[in-house]
Symmetry: C2
Subunit: 341 residues, 2 copies
């Protein structure tokens, strides 16, 4: 099973150097010999040992995505990533790169696992998600000079690394606009910790839009919970018990909305009927919920592909002739109107 380049060379009676050159498509090898090598490689089922190759080349030809069970939760956060990873992997594969997903241990917010990946040189670059406003991972990676890209931004938004984010601020504002246009003025916002940057951005858009409409921000209508079903469930009653309860709620993600709607149901409040509900980040859940939830849909698969491009473009070793460059993009979210608002 473990056929090495030596086996190939012995089998063909030529030197390993020639075999390697033939396999790697170098110019200085006769067309005949190349073909013989290729045939033999197919016959012997040869494929290069990754460790040997990485060691020699000083590159692993793989990119790591850091996947983290979110603090305070083990279940949520990942269905979101699957289409994204599909796009990421597809684009990386076009450049002959492997995508590996590294599971973080719960709790340490990836510092330990990230260090491990970097220090043992398991990947040539990493992709981060769940970016925080102050993100120690970003600091670490820039400090040690390890290539990376982020899905999401951090506060500094430094120009030193590529990032692709969604325009949560605009989505927050648009949600408010839409609700105000439908006559709502008591609009609640259920969001995760502001340390998560998308929560921060959402709230900024929410505030700005309310201001634009001359509506005063009522702190009693803003609540923070864990970014999962339990969080939404726990926190929604708080805003509903406000002296002057909301007639509409904007949830920062689908899981919180699900929990929130559960709480509403228990209070006898029906979304789309007694109260308007809008969700910022759409998943299939939203469309199959009853009532179907109006939500902002991110184009996850294209985002994955794009971030792969941006990452590769930022790394000299992978960037083509035009040289490395840092790209930062913010994509709009598209509202899918359904039955809940």
């Amino acid at each position: 099973m473990a056929s090495s380049i030596h086996d190939l060379a012995r089998h063909l009676n030529i030197s390993i150097g020639t075999v390697s050159r033939a396999l790697n498509g170098r110019a200085d090898v006769n067309a005949d010999t190349r073909q013989r090598v290729l045939d033999a490689a197919a016959k012997l089922n040869y494929s290069p040992n990754q460790s040997g190759r990485s060691l020699r080349r000083g590159a692993t030809h793989s990119i790591a995505f850091m996947l983290q069970p979110h603090p305070g939760d083990q279940q949520y956060g990942e269905p979101f990533f699957i289409p994204f990873l599909t796009g990421l992997q597809a684009k990386l594969a076009e450049s002959g790169l492997d995508l590996i997903v590294v599971m973080g241990a719960p709790g340490d917010y990836q510092q330990e696992r990230l260090r491990r990946v970097v220090e043992t040189r398991r990947a040539d670059a990493v992709v981060l998600a769940w970016t925080r406003r102050e993100d120690e991972r970003i600091d670490y990676l820039t400090r040690v000079g390890f290539p990376f890209a982020t899905l999401g931004r951090s506060r500094s938004g430094g120009k030193s690394y590529p990032s692709l984010d969604l325009d949560f601020e605009k989505a927050g504002a648009e949600a408010v606009d839409r609700l105000v246009a439908r006559g709502h003025r008591r609009i609640a916002a259920i969001r995760p910790s502001l340390s998560l940057n998308f929560g921060y951005l959402f709230l900024a858009g929410y505030r700005k839009a309310l201001g634009r409409h001359g509506i005063e921000v009522d702190p009693g209508l803003i609540a923070e919970g864990f970014i999962n079903e339990a969080g939404g469930y726990e926190v929604t009653p708080q805003v509903m018990r406000s002296k002057d309860p909301p007639t509409a709620i904007i949830f920062n993600n689908d899981a919180m909305a699900l929990g929130g709607c559960k709480a509403l149901a228990e209070m006898g409040v029906k979304p789309g009927h007694d109260i308007a509900v809008i969700v910022i980040v759409d998943t299939p859940l939203c469309s199959y919920f009853s009532p179907a939830l109006t939500a902002f849909r991110p184009p996850l698969e294209p985002m994955g592909r794009r971030l792969a491009e941006m990452l590769l473009a930022s790394i000299p070793a992978f960037a083509g002739a035009e040289g490395a460059r840092i790209i930062r993009e913010v994509w709009p979210l598209e509202l899918i109107a359904r039955d809940s608002d």
Copy 2:
């Protein structure tokens, strides 16, 4: 950043051999020297290059989990895995092993990616999920003699590899028993393709229990759909439009149930009121749905830990003194009674 064992050796004025032995805890190195090496390693922030180590040792010290966007769907299937992977990773980490998750390209059912992992020796073993009744991946891995374990069984259920599965057959039967005890006799089953082994097992249990209760199996009450929301949504109306419609439905998983309930709602049928609903595999979705869905909950995180143990026990290089052995286990599913039945 790239401090190697040579840097350490030069810095301490000793040979690289000694450094390596000190780092690896070998006996033939003086206690003083060992300490000096350890200190220097910490100071220089040394950690061994993974490629070099793998090359020399002939082992990567990492285990690959094959993650696959399910055919016909990009969004579903993965929240299920997160707690499982958390357990898997935790246990592997105790043995100094890394868990990497390898994304399959959509469509090829992992064959191509799996071959790549195996042939380039990227991992020492792999873990498979979504086992099919006839599983080409299992055939391939056994044929080439690559170590692996499965979450789920295949038809053959060969004794050659460790596997951990849930007792879907018993759960299917228990669901029927429960519904019959509550007076139902027209019980529908919504399931995925029988090529997926858990779908097959579920149906077997369903049939067996019906037989035990002297209820004839009505093919019109059994429907097959894609294992996602869309599948449940599409297929549920079929059984409802049966001449003699069901008074209860058992869904084979949460996503199908979600889609099915959507379809029911559109038909004006209310789960837990007009019809009983039971879900075989529980996720947080089920408890936050309205009404909360009665479901069978798998202990995912312990399953991950256990499968890691079983995998390691099956590999001579990792098994302790007692030698390698193949363990196969089937765990019960626990019913969580909620409001839908």
